[in-house]
């Protein structure tokens, strides 16, 4: 049992390092674009209004908190509480996706098209890549819901793995929010 825990933690660490490297590369690219541009956003492009991304941040943060609650409940073997908290986590995750879609429509309607240059490329491209990971995360939450149906000694470990990934997505979004939208 001990070894199983160690294996899962190690494997999850490697997975998260890999995923983090992907985003680190993106941010490195962003740093290059940002530092080589005279003004950012480029002349003629307006900064994206903060309220939708801010909403997304709220959603994903609360979602992360609920995900943490799921794990606590599973640790206490309170599966029914875990199920409802997991439900909330998922709904908030979906709300995040909704807010993101809103953000894309909003950017489009305010004249920032995907093809209109490097600023738009970064805004759309990075949020898309993150969103794809969130979709994967949502599938993981669905998988966890399925796992919770049948008692097994591995439920807690699986919950922890999914929880880590979900927190990771939250952290990446917060970095993106600060780096891309606020700063």
């Amino acid at each position: 049992m001990k070894r199983n825990e160690l294996q899962n933690n190690l494997a999850m660490t490697v997975v998260l390092i890999s995923a983090a490297m992907l985003f680190v590369t993106l941010f490195m690219g962003y740093a290059v674009y940002r530092s080589s541009a005279d003004v950012w956003p480029p002349v003629g492009v307006a900064k994206v209004s903060l309220w939708l991304p801010f909403l997304s941040t709220i959603f994903i943060s609360i979602s992360s908190w609920y995900c943490y609650q799921v794990r606590l409940s599973v640790a206490k073997n309170d599966i029914s509480a875990a199920k409802s908290q997991l439900w909330l986590t998922t709904v908030l995750g979906l709300a995040f996706m909704l807010a993101q879609s809103g953000l894309w429509f909003f950017m489009k309607s305010s004249g920032v098209f995907v093809t209109s240059g490097i600023f738009a490329s970064v805004m759309y491209g990075f949020t898309w890549i993150h969103a794809v990971h969130v979709v994967l995360g949502l599938f993981a939450l669905g998988y966890l819901r399925w796992v919770l149906r049948t008692p097994s000694p591995y439920i807690l470990q699986k919950t922890i793995n999914v929880e880590k990934f979900w927190h990771f997505l939250g952290v990446v979004w917060v970095v993106m929010f600060i780096g891309l939208f606020v700063f």
């Binding site: 190690l10 490297m21 674009y33 491209g125």
Partner: protein
């Protein structure tokens, strides 16, 4: 993820679960081996087409030329030529070397050599192969597109690889294939890292692991960290191609261009330089072990070798800029990258010294795995030393993008890895398939590979220094290159010879599979754990998990009294009279 707990899993019974979606690391290793050898054949054939075009431009490729290029009377046309060298590079690196060295040997050797019953995550392991398979299919499919496969070189520099330079779906499929391959590699890496850390047999410290496992483990770590960097690069490139973003677009042809094509080069080589070591580290590990096994004495400075390999892995992450000297980075970056690159020679010199130290005063058996290992020392020596010319900025300004570079990286990445891979195949074949390979054919294969191989790659160094630049279709376009044609012809003839000698390997491999002499448990008299069990091993490898009591290279201990000159790792180290 569910964990592996080193318990005995029941043996699968159906064909499907036994051979196709098998969770057994030994079967997955064989799947990777077949996959790799198949792609090695395809990539090799592409190499011959390339070489033929360079030596005899405008002449039909013999025998199969008319079949492959019916529209141009058997002559390789220029656009196909670009696809050929792009696919040759991509296939050899990602679809031949990686599956054989990392997929096959990694899967086969790691659990067996550390005394485990399987990988930590058998299902992930299975998925890793099938992602690689899917990736290979996507890549091969791109060859049949109307506009053909990717043709921007395996490096796929934008803006050539964006819609400006490469219309058609080939380049997009290339990106997809590479991304899938990256997913597969990362899955493998998760498994290897975890397995080595958690499933070592009781008593086995890190320095009791065979150096093969060290090499594979370091490779897995580098893979996990740097493959996603390329992943990010190809995602952005795909977005540029499909969605119309402008991450890598700039210049007059890019209507809304404000991106940075050089950024891709940075991203590519941040991945690309470690990738070189990802490919070579398993070969180094195998060679370090085999030199000791066949010299019948302990590996000289095994700890130092392991630490040097680690040092090289670390250094490999901070030297990538030497691939980009001609893009005119800031002078400070250029100088730093040159200096950092040079420091790699210190650990390299140390493990070279250790390799020679290992065969020094040994009692050397020249079986085929040993011949190939000695071959690796020779060709990697040449490859490593020619790196000095390219790591130095001023000489690189002349040699960059010439055939000197091609010769250099083929020596390091292709020749040494190929020979290392063959050494591994000849060595572990008895364990994998329970039969011996034919030794005479193996020796013919060695000399038939080794001699033309040097003809090819040394020839490339020569024409490169002579000023022939890379990736050109017809050297006759340049007056200054005409004088190099005899060397080009020599290279091509060597390449054809080498290709022909590989047929001997294929025959030997297939013949031995069914008709080879039955292998005993330990045909090479080696003490590492995989030789303590039957050949081929049973489904769960070890009936009882072994307990390790000594290192992997216990040979020639004068205190041994049992008629053997080696000790199994499961035996207490024999001490002399105090």
């Amino acid at each position: 993820m569910s964990g592996g707990y080193n318990e005995i899993h029941p043996e699968p019974t159906t064909f499907w679960s036994k051979y196709i979606i098998s969770f057994d690391h030994k079967v997955i290793a064989k799947q990777f081996l077949w996959y790799g050898i198949a792609f090695l054949g395809i990539g090799g054939l592409m190499a011959l087409l390339i070489r033929w075009t360079l030596a005899y431009p405008g002449e039909a490729f013999p025998v199969i030329g008319h079949l492959l290029f019916p529209n141009s009377a058997g002559i390789v046309p220029p656009d196909s030529y670009a696809m050929l060298f792009t696919m040759h590079g991509t296939i050899m690196i990602f679809y031949a070397i990686t599956p054989i060295l990392i997929g096959a040997f990694g899967n086969y050797c790691i659990p067996l050599m550390i005394g485990a019953r399987d990988m930590a995550f058998p299902m992930l392991n299975m998925l890793s192969f099938w992602f690689a398979f899917l990736s290979g299919l996507v890549l091969l499919a791109s060859l049949f597109l109307p506009l053909g496969a990717a043709a921007g070189g395996w490096t796929s520099y934008p803006t050539l690889s964006t819609m400006i330079g490469s219309p058609g779906a080939g380049q997009t499929l290339w990106c997809v294939a590479i991304f899938l391959f990256g997913v597969s590699s990362t899955m493998g890496a998760v498994n290897y890292v975890t397995t080595v850390i958690t499933l070592r047999a009781p008593g086995m410290g890190y320095f009791d692991m065979p150096l093969t496992v060290w090499g594979l483990w370091l490779t897995a770590i580098l893979n996990a960290i740097f493959v996603p960097v390329l992943g990010a690069g190809v995602i952005l490139l795909t977005l540029d191609r499909v969605m119309g973003t402008t991450f890598f677009l700039a210049g007059a042809s890019a209507t809304s261009g404000s991106g940075d094509p050089v950024l891709f080069q940075h991203v590519f080589w941040i991945f690309g330089h470690p990738e070189v070591y990802i490919l070579i580290l398993p070969a180094w590990g195998i060679v370090s072990d085999l030199l000791s096994f066949f010299s019948r004495k302990p590996a000289f400075g095994a700890k130092a070798t392991a630490l040097s390999m680690t040092a090289v892995s670390v250094l490999s992450t901070i030297v990538y800029g030497h691939h980009m000297f001609t893009t005119q980075m800031s002078p400070l970056l250029t100088q730093s990258f040159m200096t950092l690159t040079m420091t790699i020679s210190i650990p390299s010199a140390i493990f070279f010294a250790n390799w020679l130290g290992t065969i020094w005063k040994g009692s050397i058996r020249f079986d085929s795995p040993m011949l190939f290992s000695l071959g690796v020392v020779f060709v990697f020596g040449l490859g490593g030393l020619t790196g000095l010319h390219l790591g130095t900025v001023t000489t690189d300004l002349y040699l960059h993008d010439t055939y000197f570079v091609v010769g250099h990286f083929h020596y390091t990445m292709a020749a040494s890895v190929l020979l290392g891979g063959y050494a591994g195949i000849y060595f572990w074949f008895p364990k994998m398939f329970g039969r011996m390979m034919n030794e005479t054919m193996a020796k013919i294969h060695f000399w038939g590979t080794m001699i033309p191989l040097n003809g090819i790659f040394f020839g490339m160094l020569m024409v490169g220094y002579g000023g022939m630049h890379r990736r050109i279709y017809n050297p006759f376009v340049y007056d200054s290159l005409k004088r190099l044609m005899p060397i080009n012809e020599m290279i091509t003839i060597s390449a054809i010879l080498m290709g022909l000698f590989q047929i001997i390997f294929v025959i030997n491999f297939l013949w031995s599979l069914y008709k080879g002499k039955k292998a005993v448990n330990n045909p090479w008299n080696v003490g590492t754990l995989e030789w303590t069990i039957p050949s081929p091993p049973v489904h769960h490898n070890y009936d009882v998990i072994p307990v390790v009591k000594c290192g992997p290279h216990e040979f020639g201990n004068p205190n041994l009294k049992n008629g053997r000159d080696f000790q199994y790792q499961t035996e207490e180290l024999v001490q002399g009279p105090a």
